[in-house]
Each structure stands twice: as structure tokens, then as C-alpha cells.
């Protein structure tokens, strides 16, 4: 490598280095595409293994609990029916009572509160209610002559509370199994001759040695209610027909199975005929946008950091501070201001008109190509300070002796950049680039506040030319009340994002291992 630097003049090796660099990138891209297929195969294999191991665990669990039943004394056997029996008959009175209470309350809730909703889960309701009616002669009428409303089935509430009930049942099941193991453990302890831990002792333990259980149980519990429940609910909506024509409480909706997904990909329903085309177009643009947004920001941030870092530049801290201050302004405020700034009657366009660069009708966000170009450029302006900060930190950590030895060997600054700086930066910020790429596929703020997804397209279904998958989802939800399609789209976005994250991360791991830094 060092010999190369000395023998050839710069106008040969600069293009050659650039060519090498491009070839390297192409190689990586090619291996990446290949690896998608191997990763798919690995993924399917792993899924199969996971299913098999889950089945095995289930079977083993069945055996284990049957053994507990068979070998246990009458107290343990009874705790299969009454939770907590194996505790309060063995000396752990308070704990036993708590378990029993849990069983009674949960079963009561499940049967009397959640039960009616779960019972209607397969049809999601079949009778509508009646609204208030004016009927002075009716014996049920109030003093003003109106008969009150009769509540009917509300499909959305049925779905929501059924999911809630199922989650409660799952929690109950978990504690039921705990109860069985507790009964067995107590029996064992008594057989050995020791006493099971009394409640006071247990509480002290939970606050000391087993504090991790106390502290973790609350977040887990609440995350079930506030995260898992809404998530499951929204995923299930994708399999129903919940949209603006089926709004509770005035209308019912029911399950439609995979129809929404079929419509999304084939558009056989005439109303949704443009969906597949729209999905494909927006997916393409999301990827193109993510590539440009991530890599342009990265390179320009790095160049900016390099420029500030250069020996001989005064007031380094001032320049960095100036750029960092722009981060302090919340992104959506600066984006909304930018939107007005680039308005077709705004100062920027007037400036361009004065310079004679564009005609009077020009608007940056009016045509497809123009809007896409300007969105990428403005994103550059917004995002460069972040990448500058990140790369600054890493740049300052590159061992200086690498540069010194290169200078001694006669390398110019461009060589140093391509052979030392760039490989080192890519090596260190590899994972960051991956995360940023996936994040940019779903970068809602920039697109929505700058263009609103526009300019509108005649070919696409309820979407514009700069719409990403997430902004399209937002439009479907808010303006069309097309919840079922939005939910379907959400599931697709999740699958795409997670799929690519997993592949790229496994590739990066591979790269990291084999690419020892030269």
C-alpha cells in the first residue's frame, strides 16, 4: 500500500482510488442482495426451530404439572382447583389468601364483565342499539316525552374488551402455574422439616434480595395494559372491515380474514384497484429517500466535521456551537418555517425569480421531481448538524500516528481521506448507519411538515409523490377513516422494517468480524 502511494502521480491514483471505492461498494451491494436469500432461508429455519422448541416446552410443562398432581398430597391436589390452597394450609396464610383473592376476582371479572364481549368475538356483534326517540305516549318516556336510547352491540368495544379479557386470562394462567409450583415447593419444604417462609419474611425478601422482582413487575404489568393491549387490538383491526362506512355505534363490522391484505397486493376490489401500484411506488420512493437521506447526511456531516477539525481553522468551538444550536430548535418548528420559506409566493422563490433562474410560476413543491429534490436538500440542511457531531467525535479519536506515518510516506490529504478516514469511520459508525437507514424509511416529520406528502398524484390511491409509507398510513387513518387499510399497512411496514434491520445487522456483524481494520 505504501509503495502505491509513492510511485504513481496523483492524477492516476485519485481516480483509481475512487474506482476502487466504487467497486468495493458494488461488491458489498451484490453480497448484500445474495445474503437476502440466505437470510430468508435462515429465518425460516429458525422459525421452524422455535416452533418445535415451543411445542416441546409445552409438552414438557404438561408432564411436569401432571407429575406435581400425581405425586402431591391432598393439599397440592386441591390447589389445582383453588389457587392458594397449597399456601394457606401450609403456613403461608397471607400469600395464600392473596392468590385466592386473585383467582376469585379475575374469574369474576372474566365471567361477568369480559365474558359477554368475548362471547361475541366471533361475530363482533349482531344487534344494533336504538337511539333516543320522541314518543310522548310511550310509558317509558321521560318528563320531556323522549324515550331513552337502548344500547346495542358496539363492534369496536367488543374487540377491545375481548382482547383485554384474553390478556387477563393469560395473566391469570401465569399466576395459576406459579400457584401450583408454590404448592409443590411448600410440600417439599415441609417434608424436609423446614417451615415455608412467612409473609413478613417474604415481603422483606422482596425488598432486599428479590427487589428486582418487585421493581420489574410493575413495568411489565403496565406495559401489558398500555402497550401490548393496544398493539394486539390494532393488529386485529387489519382483519376486520372497520372503515368509514362501518362506524360504530351506528354500524357493525365483522371479520374479513385476509381480504385487506389481498386487496393491498392485488387490488381485485374495484375500489382499491390502485392500491398495489401505490404500495409499490411508495415503497420504492421510501427506499430511495432513505438511501439519500442517510448517506448524503452522513457524508456531508463528515466533510463538515473534517473541515472544522482541520489544523489551522480558528474558533473550532464557535463553528461547532453554531451548528449545534440549530439542533436546539425543535425539528417540526424549523420544518414548518422552511415550508413557508419555500412557498411559491415565499422569499426563496422570489429570490430565484429575481436572479432569473426560474419563471414566475415556479414552486419547489409543485412537481414530483422538484418536490423530491428539495425535500432531500432540506433534510440535508436539517440533519447535517447531527451527523457532524457524531463524526466529529469519532474523527477526534482516530489515532494521529496513522496520519503522521501516511504523511511521512508522502500521502496527500485525499489519499489520507480514502484510505484512513473513510474506512475507519465506516467501521465505527456501521451500526449507526443501519439504524439511521431504517429510521429514515419511516421519517414522518420531514415529509409531512414540508410537503404534506404532496404534490398529489392522479395515479396513486390517496397518496402524493413524496409520501412515505408512514405518511400514507397517517392520511388513510385521519382523512379517510380507513382504519382497516391503515392497520394492514402498519403491519406491512413493521414486517419490512424488521426484516431489513435483521438482515443488515447480521451482515454488519459479519463485516465487523472479517474486516480487520488495516
Amino acid at each position: 500500500m505504501k509503495d502505491e502511494l509513492r510511485s504513481e502521480p496523483f492524477y492516476i491514483w485519485i481516480p483509481q482510488s475512487i474506482l476502487d471505492f466504487i467497486i468495493q461498494i458494488l461488491k458489498v451491494a451484490f453480497e448484500f442482495t445474495l445474503s437476502i436469500f440466505t437470510s430468508l432461508y435462515d429465518f425460516l429455519k429458525t422459525t421452524g426451530k422455535v416452533i418445535v422448541s415451543l411445542a416441546k416446552k409445552g409438552y414438557e410443562g404438561l408432564i411436569k404439572y401432571s407429575r406435581i398432581f400425581i405425586k402431591g398430597n391432598y393439599k397440592t391436589k386441591l390447589s389445582f382447583l383453588l389457587m392458594g390452597f397449597g399456601a394457606y394450609t401450609n403456613g403461608q396464610i397471607v400469600k395464600g389468601i392473596l392468590y385466592q383473592l386473585l383467582q376469585v376476582v379475575s374469574l369474576g371479572l372474566l365471567i361477568f364483565f369480559f365474558g359477554p364481549y368475548i362471547a361475541k368475538l366471533n361475530t363482533l356483534g349482531d344487534t344494533l342499539g336504538t337511539p333516543v326517540t320522541y314518543d310522548p305516549g310511550n310509558p317509558n318516556a321521560d318528563p320531556f316525552g323522549y324515550v331513552p336510547a337502548q344500547p346495542g352491540d358496539n363492534s369496536m368495544i367488543i374487540l377491545l374488551l375481548s382482547v383485554g379479557g384474553i390478556i387477563l386470562a393469560a395473566l391469570l394462567y401465569y399466576f395459576y402455574l406459579q400457584n401450583l409450583r408454590l404448592a409443590e415447593a411448600n410440600e417439599m419444604t415441609l417434608q424436609v422439616g423446614k417451615r415455608p417462609i412467612p409473609f413478613k419474611e417474604e415481603v422483606k425478601q422482596l425488598l432486599n434480595e428479590r427487589f428486582h422482582i418487585t421493581v420489574l413487575s410493575w413495568p411489565v404489568f403496565f406495559s401489558f395494559i398500555f402497550t401490548v393491549l393496544p398493539l394486539v387490538f390494532m393488529i386485529l383491526i387489519a382483519f376486520t372491515e372497520f372503515d368509514r362506512f362501518h362506524q360504530p355505534p351506528g354500524s357493525l363490522f365483522t371479520w374479513v380474514g385476509l381480504d385487506n391484505f389481498i386487496n393491498m397486493f392485488s387490488g381485485q376490489n374495484a375500489f382499491y384497484s390502485r392500491l398495489p401500484r401505490t404500495l409499490w411506488a411508495i415503497l420504492q420512493w421510501s427506499f430511495v429517500w432513505a438511501i439519500f437521506a442517510t448517506f448524503l447526511n452522513y457524508f456531508f456531516g463528515m466533510i463538515l466535521a473534517l473541515m472544522i477539525n482541520k489544523k489551522g481553522i480558528k474558533l473550532k468551538v464557535l463553528w461547532r456551537t453554531v451548528f449545534v444550536i440549530t439542533i436546539a430548535v425543535p425539528q417540526f418548528i424549523s420544518l414548518l418555517i422552511m415550508r413557508n420559506f419555500f412557498n411559491e409566493q415565499g422569499p426563496f422563490v422570489n429570490f430565484l425569480i429575481d436572479l432569473g433562474l426560474v419563471g414566475p410560476g415556479y414552486g419547489p413543491f409543485l412537481t414530483k421531481e422538484s418536490a423530491r429534490f428539495w425535500v432531500i436538500v432540506i433534510n440535508l440542511w436539517v440533519g447535517v448538524p447531527y451527523t457532524m457531531l457524531i463524526t466529529s467525535g469519532i474523527l477526534m479519536n482516530i489515532p494521529a500516528d496513522l496520519y503522521e506515518s501516511a504523511t511521512i510516506d508522502g500521502a496527500g490529504s485525499i489519499t489520507k481521506f480514502f484510505k484512513i478516514t473513510l474506512p475507519y469511520m465506516l467501521f465505527v459508525t456501521g451500526p449507526y448507519l443501519v439504524t439511521a437507514f431504517i429510521g429514515n424509511i419511516n421519517n414522518f416529520n420531514i415529509i409531512y411538515f414540508l410537503t404534506g406528502g404532496g404534490p398529489s398524484s392522479q395515479q396513486l390511491f390517496q397518496a402524493g409523490h413524496t409520501d412515505l409509507l408512514v405518511t400514507w398510513l397517517f392520511r388513510l387513518t385521519l382523512f379517510d377513516s380507513d382504519y382497516k387499510m391503515a392497520s394492514t399497512l402498519g403491519i406491512l411496514i413493521f414486517m419490512i422494517s424488521s426484516f431489513f434491520s435483521l438482515i443488515i445487522f447480521s451482515r454488519t456483524g459479519g463485516i465487523k468480524a472479517e474486516d480487520s481494520f488495516q
Binding site: 342499539g129 337511539p131 333516543v132 321521560d142 316525552g145 336510547a149 351506528g250 409566493q345 419563471g359 410560476g361
Partner: protein, 444 residues
């Protein structure tokens, strides 16, 4: 530690008991007063909160034998549907919304049908406002205003009423003064004005059928007229900044606008800016593709007041909604807030006729199409896309023409050839795609 435990448990239990005992629902008798207590929740836009407070006070005087409480909250009219449908039984008892939300609210079963006051409401309000408040001959809301629509505001320093009758003369004046005007397609809402008058359009929610013929020859002629207007590059298309643009006229009319298309929502603001130079007039005529003058239409709509179908106090809610939208209160709103009434007698009141924006709206109304009866919610996206496509082409007309003429096979051809061979077929294409998109709802 056990003591502390006990104390905390007792404290907790007492708190729970106290909290659950507080708070009341409607129709509870309080021990102290003998009157039954009722509570009504009312939602209205922020600019009407003062008006609503006054109305609720005067309504309470009509019922001296009960204890009536009102809970007012600000919910903007365009947001009403989204917020109400989140939880209909928990929403307000009386609320205000624009007429294009009526169908969705009826599908969701959120509106209580009018029975007690139906005949009176039909008799005292303008016909088309009753029409948009009904589905299948059932009246579902009380008409409150009749002024949703567009007309032109203008700065009388720079242009006179006589010059505001045709779009050509308006544009000529704008060019003479080196100024501009604003006609914003508004996502298809104001864009309908180019097509509405000669075209056929209708939407029926009950049969879920949309009919529209704006891509036939008549529609093409209208579209060419629209193209020719935007081609002059004297028309800006952002209605949101119309007020600031009028403000520019104080310093330099070349930076501002001499006229602009907007609605009554901007009346107060523009009047403040222009002061004595404030004027409004109905939409002008424009020259269509066949060279004839064609009146620009508009989409007209009304604001309605609805009663929640699951309200706990239907009698009082209906009585209040009826009171809120009667002649006296509509007249008050017209005079103080410049809002056009739907009450027939109020419309003919000389005070109302004097307000320039209201006069413009009433003059324009005969040329309007009912928004709620013309388009489904799937009209807007194709319409907005069509407007974008057409206006972009119009703005770039000069460049496109020059590029086309520069081609060797087109030497010796004229602008008219460019239009017939290139641009007009393109406009027809845009129209076809637009209409196809709008008609797609028929398959839903």
C-alpha cells in the same frame, strides 16, 4: 411496620370511598335545593364561545323550574366528527359541525333525529339547508348558518366593482398594476367553480352513487378556460396568506394582491386590514375554451347543530338546539360575527343584507352546488391532483411552448397548434383520470 401498613391501607380505602362518592350525573336531586338538576354539554368553535355563553344564559331563563347547568367546550367544527366518533355516548349533547360531515355521523348513528321541532325547523330555514341536513327525508340536524362558500374580496383602491364582473377585466387590471390575484383550488373545493355551473354532479349517500360529467366537451371547455387563466401567471394559489397579501397593498400593490377568492371565515380579518377599501362581490365570469363567458360557480354548504343520539337529556338537548338556531339568535350572529343565517326571515333582514360578505354569498348562492349533495369524500384527492397537474402545466406554458416549437418537425406551427396537438389532449387526460378517481367510490 404493621402499624404503618394499617395506616396506609386505611388512608387509601378512605380516599377511594370519598372520591367515588363525588361527582354527579344528570337528573340527580341534591338534598339542599328542591329543583331537579340537569347538565348539558355543548361543543362549539372558539370564536363562538362568547355567543354560546350568552345563549345558554338566556335559555336558562326559559326554564325557571329546573336547575340547568351547561358545560361548554371548544371543538372546532371541522374536527367535530373525528372527536365525536371516538366515543359517541361520552360526547357532547349538542354540537356544531359543517354539513359535509352529516352523512358519516348518520352512518355512525351519532345524531338524534328531529321529531318534536321538525316541522318548525323546515318551515323557517332555507330549503337547501334542510336538504343537506336530511338523509332519506329524515331530518337529523338544525341548520344554523348558510354561508359556507366562496366569493371575491377586492381592494376598492385599485379596482372597481364594475371591473370585477369578468375575470378577464380583473386579470387585465392586475397586469396593468403589476400585481396579482389569488384563486386557490383549495384541494378541489374552490376548483369546482370552473366546472360547477354547466356541469352535472351529484352524490347520493343512500344509494352510494356518484355521478359527474366534468370530462365531457363542456367540462373540457371549462378546463381550458381555467388553464388560460393560470397561464397568465397572475394568479397565486395560496389562500392561506390572502390576509397578509392584502396587507402588502399598503406599501406596494406590486407585492400584494388586488383581489382574492376566499370565504366568510376571513371577513373580519380582511375588513380589519382593508378598512374603508374593503369590498366583496360574487364570483365573476370567465372566458371558457369556446370563447364564451361562463359564470364561476362555487360549492355551498351550511353549518348544522346536532343532538347526540345517546344523550341522557334528549328533551332539553333538542330544545336548546332549536333555541340556539332560531331567528333571534341567527340574526344576532349575523350582525355581530358576520355569519350568514339559514333562517329565511333573517336573511332578508336589511341589516344582514348590508354586510358585504353576506351579500356576496347570497348573490353567489344561485350559482352554487350543494357540497354535501355533490361529492363523496373520495372527490378531494383526485380533484387536488387534477388541479396540481393542470396548474403546473399552465405555469410552465411558455417554456413548454418554446421547447415544442424548437423541435424541427414543428417549425412554422403556432401556439394554437401546440394547444390542439399537445396541451388540450393532455388536459383531457387529466380530466379523465380525475373523473375516474371520483367515480371509483361507486365500486366501494
Amino acid at each position: 411496620m404493621l402499624n404503618r401498613y394499617l395506616k396506609t391501607m386505611i388512608f387509601g380505602a378512605v380516599t377511594v370511598l370519598v372520591v367515588s362518592c363525588g361527582g354527579g350525573t344528570s337528573a340527580t336531586s341534591s338534598a339542599t335545593s328542591q329543583l331537579p338538576t340537569y347538565t348539558l354539554k355543548v361543543w362549539g368553535p372558539s370564536q363562538e364561545q362568547q355567543f354560546l355563553t350568552d345563549v345558554t344564559e338566556s335559555f336558562k331563563l326559559l326554564y325557571p323550574n329546573i336547575n340547568l347547568n351547561f358545560e361548554l367546550a371548544v371543538v372546532g367544527e371541522p374536527d367535530l366528527k373525528g372527536i365525536l366518533l371516538l366515543d359517541v355516548p361520552g360526547g357532547a349533547d349538542v354540537f356544531a359541525f359543517p354539513d359535509d360531515q352529516l352523512e358519516d355521523l348518520v352512518t355512525a348513528g351519532a345524531l338524534s333525529e328531529l321529531t318534536q321541532f321538525k316541522d318548525d325547523v323546515i318551515e323557517r330555514n332555507q330549503d337547501w339547508t334542510i336538504d343537506v341536513a336530511s338523509v332519506d327525508d329524515k331530518l337529523y340536524a338544525y341548520p344554523n348558518t348558510a354561508d359556507n362558500g366562496i366569493f371575491m374580496y377586492y381592494d376598492s383602491r385599485y379596482i372597481q366593482a364594475s371591473e370585477m364582473t369578468t375575470l378577464d377585466s380583473i386579470l387585465a387590471k392586475a397586469e396593468e398594476l403589476n400585481s396579482k390575484i389569488i384563486i386557490d383550488p383549495m384541494g378541489g373545493w374552490a376548483m369546482s367553480s370552473w366546472f360547477a355551473v354547466p356541469g352535472e354532479i351529484s352524490w347520493s349517500k343512500t344509494t352510494m352513487t356518484q355521478t359527474i360529467d366534468w370530462n365531457n366537451e363542456v367540462g373540457l371547455s371549462s378546463a381550458i378556460g381555467m388553464y388560460n387563466a393560470y397561464k397568465t401567471n397572475l394568479i397565486q394559489r395560496d389562500q392561506g396568506i390572502i390576509v397578509t397579501e392584502f396587507l402588502e397593498n399598503d406599501t406596494d400593490v406590486q407585492e400584494g394582491i388586488i383581489a382574492g377568492v376566499s370565504g366568510t371565515w376571513n371577513a373580519v380579518a380582511i375588513k380589519t386590514i382593508l378598512g374603508d377599501n374593503y369590498a366583496a362581490i360574487k364570483m365573476p365570469t370567465f372566458t371558457n375554451g369556446n370563447g364564451q363567458q361562463q359564470q364561476m360557480g362555487s360549492m355551498i354548504g351550511a353549518k348544522l347543530v346536532g343532538v347526540n343520539a345517546y344523550t341522557a337529556n334528549p328533551g332539553l338537548a333538542h330544545a336548546f338546539a332549536n333555541y340556539m338556531t332560531n331567528y333571534d339568535n341567527q340574526l344576532t350572529k349575523a350582525v355581530t360575527m358576520g355569519v350568514g343565517p339559514s333562517n329565511i326571515t333573517a336573511q332578508q333582514n336589511p341589516e344582514v343584507q348590508e354586510v358585504p360578505s353576506l351579500k356576496a354569498i347570497f348573490d353567489q348562492a344561485p350559482h352554487g352546488i350543494l357540497q354535501a349533495r355533490s361529492v363523496s369524500s373520495y372527490y378531494w384527492s383526485p380533484a387536488g391532483a387534477f388541479a396540481d397537474a393542470l396548474i403546473t402545466d399552465a405555469r410552465n406554458h411558455a417554456d413548454n411552448l418554446a421547447a415544442w416549437l424548437a423541435l424541427p418537425e414543428n417549425s412554422g406551427k403556432t401556439e394554437a397548434d401546440f394547444m390542439t396537438e399537445v396541451q388540450i389532449p393532455l388536459i383531457q387526460d387529466y380530466l379523465d383520470i380525475f373523473i375516474e378517481g371520483v367515480l371509483a367510490v361507486n365500486e366501494a
